[in-house]
């Protein structure tokens, strides 16, 4: 396992390996998202309770899944960086933060837009919404700590440790918010059991989820390539014998 990591954690090898994957992902993700959008907007039927607003689900739910998945990805790659000190994993983690911010923002925005016609308000201090807001702030914190240490390797470890502490803390935050909500607010407004998901709705949902996943991989690979190239340029500029 470790040997395998060592082989592909080398940035140069990673680039040659990633190039075809990136190109395929670029085409496939755009295709899948387009097909998913067509299914979501035109082909899927309106819900019998929520009517047309159910179409927001096809972008809201995959974005929420993605933001959780991306945090898990950041957490594990920064743990790998902290333990084995592969710089590649740090770059992977750092470059996924912006995408995570975008997806979390998407989930929050579409959630509140979905909430207005169904529950009557844009925002409820519900456990799930609150914990997502906290997740959004943790993402922003990661982004801030990246920017405030620009061009210094000190920030690398600060970033890694913050992702680590955040990873430990997120379940606790989620649990505490759940606890807080169940005591104070009877579950009257939100009832997820109301939606019965039929297969016609599952198709666009999964298409969008897969499309977002591929989009994430594509943007990530592009960003990593930019970062590696930037590093290479700085490295060559500062070589003593150059």
């Amino acid at each position: 396992m470790l040997k395998y990591f060592h082989k592909y954690a080398n940035p140069g090898k990673f680039l040659t390996l990633a190039l075809p994957v990136r190109k395929i992902m670029g085409i496939v993700s755009i295709g899948v998202v387009t097909v998913g959008l067509i299914f979501a907007l035109f082909l899927s039927p309106p819900d019998y309770q929520q009517k047309e607003t159910v179409r927001i689900m096809y972008i809201h739910v995959p974005a929420a899944w993605m933001s959780l998945m991306i945090y898990a990805f950041i957490f594990f790659s920064s743990v790998v960086f902290l333990v084995w000190k592969f710089p590649l994993f740090l770059i992977l983690a750092k470059e996924s933060v912006t995408i995570g911010v975008i997806f979390t923002f998407t989930a929050l925005l579409t959630g509140s837009l979905w909430g207005k016609p169904t529950w009557g308000t844009y925002w409820v201090w519900d456990a799930r919404l609150t914990s997502f807001l906290v997740l959004f702030f943790i993402y922003l914190g990661l982004k801030l700590i990246m920017d405030s240490f620009s061009y210094s390797s000190k920030g690398d470890y600060a970033f890694g440790y913050l992702a680590l502490i955040g990873g430990f803390n997120l379940p606790i935050i989620k649990f505490s918010v759940d606890w807080w909500n169940t005591l104070h607010q009877p579950a009257s407004i939100l009832r997820t059991g109301g939606i019965s998901i039929s297969s016609e709705m599952l198709i666009p949902l999964f298409l969008m989820a897969i499309g977002f996943l591929f989009l994430f991989i594509y943007i990530l690979l592009v960003s990593v390539e930019i970062n590696l190239k930037k590093r290479k340029i700085i490295y060559y500029k500062n070589k003593p014998d150059n």
């Binding site: 061009y151 210094s152 390797s153 590093r231 700085i234 490295y235 500062n238 070589k239 003593p240 014998d241």
Partner: protein, 197 residues
């Protein structure tokens, strides 16, 4: 030369902030000798001292003579709390280093006895530097790492500190100093120059 070294540095290179600071430096430090690290501003003199004291990660070898587990260090930042008085500062470090003797003779040596109850923040730059050298004496380390030990000081203070280093060398210690100034104070045979470009 089969002399026993205090410190042996072999092919030391260091990368910091994604830049190579220096590449493949080698030098030895023998007892009673001093190594001067020469170079321009920003060429990585301080980085070299931090690499030797094993704070930064480096590639290459730093061999230290057995029995030496501590380095004395005087840096740009003096490592003094502003609110501490001179007395409490010395008492604190005396206890840390297990220095048995009284520290009043050291204060006498540096002409600081008058300032014993004065908080550190009201001392001048040179006096602060002298205090950090007082800490160095209490430490009784064989190897001293000195980062610009005499820059920005007046002639009298410079002399005191140079004499102190000379004494340390004559007792069998070694020193690793970075300096801009060419020091003709020391015996030429005992000085090694290392150039970083």
């Amino acid at each position: 030369m089969s002399k026993e070294y205090l410190l042996k540095v072999k092919n030391l290179s260091c990368e910091r902030n994604y830049k190579i600071i220096f590449n493949k430096l080698s030098f030895n430090l023998y007892p009673r000798n001093i190594v001067f690290i020469d170079g321009n501003n920003g060429s990585g003199k301080t980085t070299l001292l931090l690499c030797v004291s094993n704070i930064l990660t480096y590639s290459g070898e730093v061999l230290i003579k057995k029995g030496i587990d501590n380095f004395g260090y005087v840096g740009h930042r003096n490592g003094l709390y502003d609110t501490q008085t001179v007395d409490s500062f010395l008492y604190f470090w005396k206890n840390i280093y297990n220095y048995k003797k009284s520290y009043h003779s050291i204060l006498e040596y540096f002409n600081l006895s008058r300032f014993i109850d004065v908080p550190v923040s009201s001392l001048s730059f040179g006096q602060k530097k002298k205090l950090s050298f007082a800490r160095l004496i209490m430490m009784k380390s064989k190897v001293w790492l000195l980062d610009e030990p005499i820059s920005g000081l007046d002639k009298k203070t410079k002399k005191i500190i140079l004499k102190l280093i000379q004494e340390h060398l004559s007792l069998g210690g070694g020193a690793l100093a970075t300096s801009h100034e060419r020091l003709s104070y020391f015996d030429k045979k005992k000085v090694t120059r290392v150039k970083i470009d």
